[in-house]
């Protein structure tokens, strides 16, 4: 004979609404719920760390951009000051170029005068804004323009270029007005070389 161990007989007043336990497979539901919470927490932590790093990076970039902008600004202002200095230097150079002694020019003009010609009036004006140019006003006591050609040749020989020449002949006097500009031989060479 075989008698198996049976469940204990219970004499307690039975509750009618006792529910059987849910199937074991459904344990996946709370397990997945807890897993999703854990994953959410992990991902949130990762995102928070990433966000913190990104903010830190952005701040670093901002500060780098600021410092670079400041450097650029400083370079610009330095450039501006350098350009100002260059302009000033150029002005000085022009001034120096324009303020060469005019005595050789005057001497050349005087020596160019022939026996029948004389200088009535010689005027040399130099503009402060454009000191490289010399405005010359020459009145020669002569009856022909031949003397003027000789004088202009002498002036050209002194490396001056003439611009806007005007001449008026009347009553035995020749009134000649011209703008002179000293010709820099080195510069001329530089300009001529590409041609």
């Amino acid at each position: 004979m075989q008698l198996l161990e049976h469940p204990i007989d219970d004499f307690k007043s039975e509750r009618k609404d006792i529910m059987p336990p849910l199937p074991v497979v459904l344990r996946l539901v709370p397990l997945l719920f807890y897993c999703s919470i854990a994953v959410a927490v992990i991902l949130s932590s990762l995102f928070a760390i990433q966000l913190k790093l990104a903010v830190q990076k952005r701040d670093n970039h901002k500060s780098q951009t600021g410092s670079i902008t400041a450097q650029t600004q400083a370079a610009r202002s330095e450039r501006t000051s350098l350009e100002t200095e260059i302009n000033k230097a150029r002005d000085i150079q022009n001034w120096v170029a324009g303020s060469r002694p005019l005595q050789p020019l005057i001497a050349a003009i005087t020596r160019s005068m022939g026996p029948s010609s004389s200088i009535v009036d010689l005027r040399l004006d130099r503009d402060a804004d454009n000191p490289s140019q010399i405005k010359m006003g020459l009145r020669i006591g002569t009856d022909s323009t031949k003397q003027l050609d000789i004088t202009v040749d002498k002036i050209t020989a002194m490396n001056f270029r003439t611009f806007s020449p005007t001449q008026t002949l009347g009553r035995g006097e020749l009134d000649y007005k011209v703008t002179l500009m000293l010709q820099d031989p080195l510069r001329e060479q530089t300009l001529e070389t590409p041609q």
Partner: protein
């Protein structure tokens, strides 16, 4: 689905049997919760805490009216059970008898609870609760009859004391079933078993004579003994002359009774005494089943 259902799913309690689900074992109902086992005699109350992980605590026994003991000691016992759940072995006001020709139709076990008259026929009495163990080889059955009033009173008593009753059983009957299951292990009638079963639980004694697989005689008495085993042997001594010479003795006690095996060997001279008793045997049975 309300918040409580949702909570029960999230804390996995919905996947365990309900605490008062009689179809589930105690261990499955409370896998990680402290509970308490009570043993009730007519004038004695014992209790034992069951810790988390089903660890059995030490048993405490007080001999007095259980109602008074509960009133005085409930505050001391309550911390042993977290939610107040307890299992009760009621060892008084019951009858274990040997019956024949009871219905064994499919579902008769469930019918015994809902409509016992259909199973028991003329043996049915109003106001009683029943449990049955059938002999698979013969038409005899062991019938446990409990007084419904007594179980209700017991439930009320423990509820008033602040406990939640998860189970009420008869310790002696469960020990008898255990002893039968331990000794009758081979299918069929080729190896018939003869035994004289002696069950002792909380002062109650039950004796069953099994001769060649047939259940011949059954005696059950409550409140027989306290500490001294003499009343047990005095009660059982008359069986000696009625037992066949080949019948051995199988003893099962809820807790080992000091000196009982020796006394039985003296009274039942020439018979082997097989002692199934172990410390906390009934508590272990209640826990595992």
């Amino acid at each position: 689905m309300n918040a409580i259902d949702l909570k029960s799913i999230l804390n996995f309690s919905a996947f365990r049997p309900e605490p008062d689900d009689p179809s589930a074992s105690w261990k499955k109902r409370f896998p990680s919760e402290k509970t308490v086992f009570f043993g009730i005699g007519r004038a004695a109350l014992s209790w034992r805490g069951i810790g988390r992980g089903s660890h059995l605590g030490e048993v405490e026994l007080v001999r007095a009216d259980p109602k008074e003991i509960l009133a005085q000691s409930s505050e001391h016992i309550k911390p042993l059970a977290e939610q107040g759940w307890c299992s009760i072995s009621l060892n008084t006001r019951y009858v274990i008898s040997l019956e024949t020709n009871l219905s064994r139709r499919t579902g008769s076990e469930d019918m015994l609870k809902s409509n016992p008259r259909s199973v028991l026929g003329g043996r049915y009495e109003r106001g009683k609760r029943y449990a049955l163990t059938h002999n698979p080889e013969t038409n005899s059955s062991i019938l446990l009859t409990f007084d419904e009033d007594q179980t209700r009173k017991t439930e009320g008593l423990f509820t008033e004391a602040g406990f939640r009753v998860g189970r009420i059983c008869c310790g002696a009957y469960e020990l008898l079933k255990h002893a039968l299951a331990e000794t009758n292990t081979k299918k069929g009638s080729e190896n018939p078993v003869s035994n004289f079963y002696i069950i002792c639980c909380e002062g109650a004694v039950c004796a069953l004579v099994q001769d060649q697989d047939r259940w011949v005689e059954l005696r059950s008495r409550t409140d027989v003994y306290e500490d001294d085993p003499t009343p047990i042997t005095d009660l059982l001594a008359p069986f000696h002359s009625r037992l066949g010479p080949e019948i051995g003795i199988t003893l099962a006690c809820d807790e080992p009774v000091a000196g009982l095996t020796d006394r039985l060997a003296t009274v039942f001279q020439g018979r082997t005494v097989s002692d199934l008793s172990k410390p906390a045997l009934l508590a272990n049975l209640m826990l595992q089943n």
